[in-house]
Amino acid sequence: MDTAATTAAAELFAAYGVAIAQVVGPGIQLPVPDLAALGIARFSAPSLLGTAVVGASTGTLRRSNARGTSDLDWIAELANQYIGRFKLKLLRAGFELWSLAPGRVTGRLLVTAVSQPQYSPIFFRDPKGGSVAVWIEMEIKSPLKITPPAAGEGEIPHEGDIILF
């Protein structure tokens, strides 16, 4: 699940032309004061409730969105696409999650996260010094059930695929 969470973020930003590299260990700089906006996506499965929070600095956000739409709109869509990628990766491993429409907040509301330095995000830097952070929090009430997709249910598409019926 950690690999899926990390890869989903790197692939997402790469799809929009920004290469981000994960930073681990002492290289993680907390608090993360330059996060301009946060996208929030809630997800669920039987016995599981979770939230993914995707934050990005202004420069990284704008380098990934050449269209000039608002940072808040874009971070919400990035969170939506992030959880979509995360879910597809888990689905291929036999675990299905469900999600709702994403939300967003400005980075100033990050104080709760940065005040808990023991709770480290998955942290990335881009080559121009921008940052991306992903927090995933899950409440698991009973052992999770992994069920490989049954034959005949249809193939799991990849990002960018178009299926015409």
């Binding site: 799809a15 929009y16 969105n65 269209r67 739409t69 608002s70 709109d73 874009w74 919400a76 869509e77 939506n80 696409q81 959880i83 979509g84 990628r85 879910k87 597809l88 689905l91 299905e96 999600s99 709702l100 429409a101 994403p102 997709p149 249910e153 249809g154 193939e155 799991i156 598409p157 990849h158 990002e159 960018g160 695929d161 178009i162 299926i163 015409l164 019926f165």
Partner: protein
């Protein structure tokens, strides 16, 4: 890509239903060369109102996860009482069960974001151009 631009399409109207302004902008930009007129809706309720209120729509692109009314519930409602136009889902979702539900509710296709602009144009053009002409009154 120029050979994908159909002739005589200036009056074709495409409804783009997505709660993200950025995605609506991306779709508008991708389809700019087709000459189609783009109308936007910001969620499922707005989309349903425009599907029922704009009488000469030729096609709709529709997100799934949206506030107020999600795209799958919206197209089910359209199937019960709405215009018979092609609807293409444009979403981050990929569960086969959701794709099956969309097909059973009358959707004509499913695109997983992020989309490739040239493939979006090809799919939209195909669905718009294959659509039977409305019956004369």
């Amino acid at each position: 890509m120029a050979d994908q631009v159909p002739e005589n399409t200036a009056v074709k109207k495409i409804l783009v239903i997505d709660d993200s302004e950025t995605i609506r902008h991306q779709v508008r930009q991708a389809l700019a060369a087709t000459g189609y007129e783009i109308i936007e809706a910001v969620d499922g309720v707005d989309g349903l109102e425009k599907l029922r209120g704009v009488t000469d729509l030729d096609m709709a692109l529709c997100d799934v996860n949206m506030p107020r009314l999600n795209g799958l519930d919206m197209i089910a409602e359209v199937q019960r009482s709405g215009p018979k136009i092609p609807i293409l889902m444009l979403t981050t979702e990929g569960q086969p069960s959701l794709i099956k539900r969309a097909r059973e509710s009358g959707a004509k296709g499913w695109i997983v974001k992020p989309f490739k602009p040239e493939l979006l144009v090809a799919a939209v053009t195909k669905l718009v151009e294959q659509r039977p002409a409305p019956a004369s009154p």
